[in-house]
């Protein structure tokens, strides 16, 4: 699980074979989602944020069905089921699904609060998204 201050690069470890396994990519993105949740819920509250997450999962889940296993409520995001089921997916597939989800969330934040939410998120989240992109593309 994500804890404040932990960096994506340090949570993601290469497995014995020297490749980025699916569960490591899942760990990476679960950390990112938790961080987004922490920052945005402080701005707009859990009920609205849960609604935005659910809407984004519904929309992006059409193309990346594994995202439907994400459980979202006002209490937060639970990835346990997704982590179990996601092991059968390729790291790239997981990466693309989460990237689309995060992009869509950013679009929703922008549609509802212009740049105010994204301004808070970008410095903290965007470098990690780029880092994830770099790690996956190195495979």
């Amino acid at each position: 699980m994500w804890s404040p201050g932990c960096e994506v690069a340090s949570t993601v470890r290469e497995d014995k074979g020297g490749k980025w396994s699916s569960d490591l990519v899942l760990d990476l993105y679960s950390g990112l989602l938790m961080e987004i949740w922490e920052i945005v819920s402080a701005l707009i509250g859990e009920a609205i944020l849960a609604l935005l997450f659910l809407s984004a999962i519904r929309k992006i889940g059409e193309k990346h069905p594994f995202l439907i296993s994400l459980k979202v409520s006002e209490e937060g995001i639970v990835l346990d089921r997704l982590k179990e089921e996601g092991q059968n997916l390729s790291p790239l597939e997981i990466h693309r699904g989460f990237q689309s989800l995060i992009n869509h969330l950013f679009q929703l934040f922008s549609a509802l609060a212009e740049g105010v939410i994204n301004k808070e998120l970008y410095p903290k989240v965007f470098p990690k998204v780029k880092e994830a992109d770099r790690i996956i593309s190195q495979r």
Binding site: L43, I48, S55, L108, A111, L112, G115
Partner: protein
């Protein structure tokens, strides 16, 4: 720090106002009146989905093009979140114009430059949205968003309470089968209207309506089809009276109309129009269509000199009895008990 404390106090005041007000319009007005102490904005809006009402509380010099952008932006919120688009034509817009910026006029070409448009979300559903808008770029920051979302949460709770209260109130005064008022509401209304008529001397008419041979419908086609007929007749009655008139189910297949301010001649015309309408309507029962008729009895104040609401009801009932006895499918005006 002092500023934050001051703002928190204003926020506390706004939240308290919202939670202690039961009228939606009042909530918007009192919130709108306090918001300039917290934000520098040109327009504040609240859209209530169930009531299809959009309230805008805005600077009086807001140009119409700015208002239009605000409205469009708010209507986008549910569809952005995957809900069906709002049918804009069904929404009632209530515009409250106020001087929000002293000694300042908005540019007539001003456009929407900054906004928040937050869904009002409770128990996983969107019940509306609120928006804060400005013609200035970067008018709002993260703290503004925090404060505005807190206001949104309080408004959600207030709207939810209002909806719950409304549905309980509806259940108490409407007949669930026909959607017209129930007997309890009629009893209250006729008491109030009779008193008003006695005091002011304005006319008051009562029309008792009974479906002819309704028992045959139930016996032939079953009670479910009979219920559909009751619903259809209630709809015809509702659509045939004026806005301030009351239509209620009196019991069984009997309905009653209260027509405040209606003289005997007018009431007679309305009753005859309703009779003809029912007579010419085809009612679908099961796989077939049938014709039905109704009988109507009228009593009126001051024409019939009733001394109480009970007497006025008895007079209309007596007139209805005469309509039935006279062959049904007719309108009878009370003509004294001796006519019996």
């Amino acid at each position: 720090m002092r500023l934050i404390f001051k703002n928190l106090n204003i926020l506390r005041f706004i939240l308290n106002t919202i939670s202690t007000t039961s009228d939606i319009k009042e909530i918007v007005e009192s919130t709108g009146a306090s918001l300039p102490k917290l934000f520098d904005f040109s327009s504040f809006g609240m859209f209530w989905k169930t009531g299809l009402l959009l309230y805008l509380y805005q600077e009086e010099s807001c140009p119409p093009s700015f208002t239009k952008s605000v409205v469009e932006n708010m209507f986008k919120v549910p569809s952005i979140l995957g809900e069906d688009p709002i049918d804009v034509n069904r929404v009632t817009l209530q515009l409250e114009k106020r001087k929000l910026k002293p000694n300042q006029m908005m540019d007539p070409r001003a456009t929407l430059k900054s906004f928040f448009a937050l869904p009002l979300a409770g128990e996983g559903e969107i019940i509306g949205c609120i928006s804060l808008n400005s013609d200035q770029p970067n008018a709002f920051d993260a703290q503004d968003l925090q404060f505005f979302s807190v206001i949104g949460y309080q408004m959600t709770a207030a709207l939810k309470n209002f909806e719950r209260f409304s549905s309980i109130k509806d259940m108490a005064i409407y007949d669930t089968l026909t959607n017209v008022h129930n007997r309890r509401y009629f009893d209250e209304r006729i008491g109030a209207e009779t008193k008003k008529s006695f005091l002011s001397g304005t006319p008051l008419s009562l029309v008792m309506v009974d479906i002819d041979y309704f028992k045959n419908v139930n016996d032939t086609y079953g009670h479910t089809e009979g219920d559909k007929v009751l619903y259809k007749i209630a709809s015809l009655l509702k659509n045939s009276v004026r806005k301030d008139d009351t239509v209620a189910r009196y019991g069984g297949e009997e309905f009653v109309l209260i027509l405040p301010g209606a003289k005997l001649e007018v009431t007679s015309m309305i009753a005859e129009r309703i009779r003809r309408l029912v007579e010419t309507t085809l009612f679908e029962v099961g796989q077939t269509q049938i014709h039905l008729t109704i009988s109507l009895g009228i009593s009126n104040l001051p024409s019939h000199r009733a001394k109480s609401e009970e007497e006025l009801i008895k007079m209309a009932d007596h007139a209805l009895y005469n309509a039935k006895r006279g062959g049904r499918n007719r309108v009878c005006i009370f003509a004294g008990h001796s006519a019996e």
